[in-house]
Amino acid sequence: MLITRPPDIPSSEITDESLFWNRRDFLKAAGLGAAAVGGLLPLRDRRLIGSDDEKLTPWEDVTGYNNYYEFGTGKDDPARNATRFVSRPWKVEVAGEVKWPAVYDLDELLKPFTPAERVYRMRCVEGWSMVVPWLGIPLGAVIDRLEPTSKAKYVEFTTLFDPQQMPGQQRRILDWPYVEGLRMDEARHPLAILVTGVYGKPLPNQNGAPLRLIVPWKYGFKGGKSIVKIRFTENQPQTTWSLAAPDEYGFFANVNPEVDHPRWSQARERRIGELFKRKTLMFNGYGDQVASLYAGMDLRRNF
């Protein structure tokens, strides 16, 4: 098996962190439109644009306030307990209704792709949100490479099960390993990405290194972390949270301010760093791009 080094991001591609933070100021100061400097500045595929009040959530919060029960249920547990997690070498099993089932070395699997930056809102089902500059690859491109069969209607993502490395798994808080899934059209949607980095750096362990899913129009828990298995299925996968509390967490879990969690409202959210809550947007603000996926579906029933 060909084992390759992680695809190094050319240093020319990496935005200097101080520039990153002050990007807007820089642009304003330069008095130039983004188009004009596009060729000079390493501005990448930025999805969250045209909203100056939505600042990036600081690195400290993105990497210090995590829901990753494999490393503990406290928000600061993952940062503390994941420091020695080994994320290389990493194998990903591809299985099910697919032309190229195999156990892949992660770097080999991702070799043909160049991670690009995507700034996404991240809305947790608990009622808080962040704005995160992920570094990722369109999930659809990876799926195309694996060539699912015509029977494949869903994709299932399984997180590593390793209680030695993941102390949270020593308690049966959830039915380990963590499983998430998407309908094929959702998975192929250009906004769905496989993430390998954040803030121009490799993904920290507490954020789901080395490979996690981000589906920005769904609640955060849909984004499985430390993925070891991608399985294509004909039937809807049994996902962890929907098994743990079927009345509280559905398979779709689209961000929807009109459908409340049975125990709390989803109408508003607290953006990390802000004291007062702001209105939650339908599909987390990505309705223009994704609403058509659910045309004709009763979103109250398919929550």
Partner: protein
């Protein structure tokens, strides 16, 4: 030092100091920027834990007194109870101001729709009359017996507080269960002592009836 002096000179001052510690930590953590993520949640967790801890402590005074015979310790109960109340005011304020932006409409909807909010409110409302009647003047005005009966509301407040916590956590109910277990022991001890007392009274009255014919 007598046991009474120990309470007034050591235990009470120490408790005054301890009572401001959670607030000091809260402000320090917030102002020094060491709170990761949701700062309002942090305020609510620190104040919430303080409230429940104080309520458990007030409920521990009676069993402690019975077990040790240290009667003077009861003098610190009001201080601990009021600490619970002041932190409950803070806790509630963060909810009203930051979570609901003081919108009466939203607050009423939230209470009506979500049992854990209702239960939390109930706990707070139970504490209000207890705080008001905590003064010596009110004890006198109500009379010991009636005052005591009113202050049994603290059982309801503590139980509602624990339930509030239990219902709000997403999945990991370990912490609320620990509070629940402590509360159960504290309330259970009262049943136990009450039975003890009845038994003592019965044997006492038995002895007096036996004594009668001889008299």
């Amino acid at each position: 030092m007598t046991r009474a002096a120990l309470v007034t000179r050591v235990v009470k001052p120490a408790l005054y100091f301890a009572a401001v510690l959670p607030l000091a930590w809260l402000l320090f953590a917030l102002l020094s920027g060491r709170v990761m993520g949701d700062e309002v949640k942090f305020m609510q967790h620190v104040t919430g834990d303080t409230i429940l801890t104080c309520l458990m402590l007030t409920l521990a005074m009676t069993p402690l007194r019975r077990l040790t015979g240290w009667n003077e310790i009861i003098r610190v109960r009001r201080l601990i109870g009021l600490t619970a109340f002041w932190y409950a005011c803070l806790h509630l304020s963060t909810y009203l101001v930051f979570d609901q932006s003081l919108s009466i409409d939203e607050i009423l909807k939230d209470i009506a729709k979500h049992p854990w909010v209702l239960v939390g409110f109930t706990a707070f409302l139970c504490l209000v009359p207890l705080a008001i009647t905590s003064t010596t003047g009110w004890v006198r005005r109500l009379g010991g017996k009636r005052w005591q009966r009113l202050h049994r509301l603290v059982y309801l407040a503590a139980a509602a507080g624990v339930l509030h916590y239990f219902w709000l956590v997403k999945k990991d109910v370990q912490a609320p269960l620990v509070y629940g277990a402590v509360l159960l022991v504290l309330l259970g001890s009262r049943v136990w002592f009450a039975r003890d007392r009845t038994r003592a009274r019965r044997s006492l009255s038995a002895r007096t009836t036996e004594a009668k014919p001889a008299a």
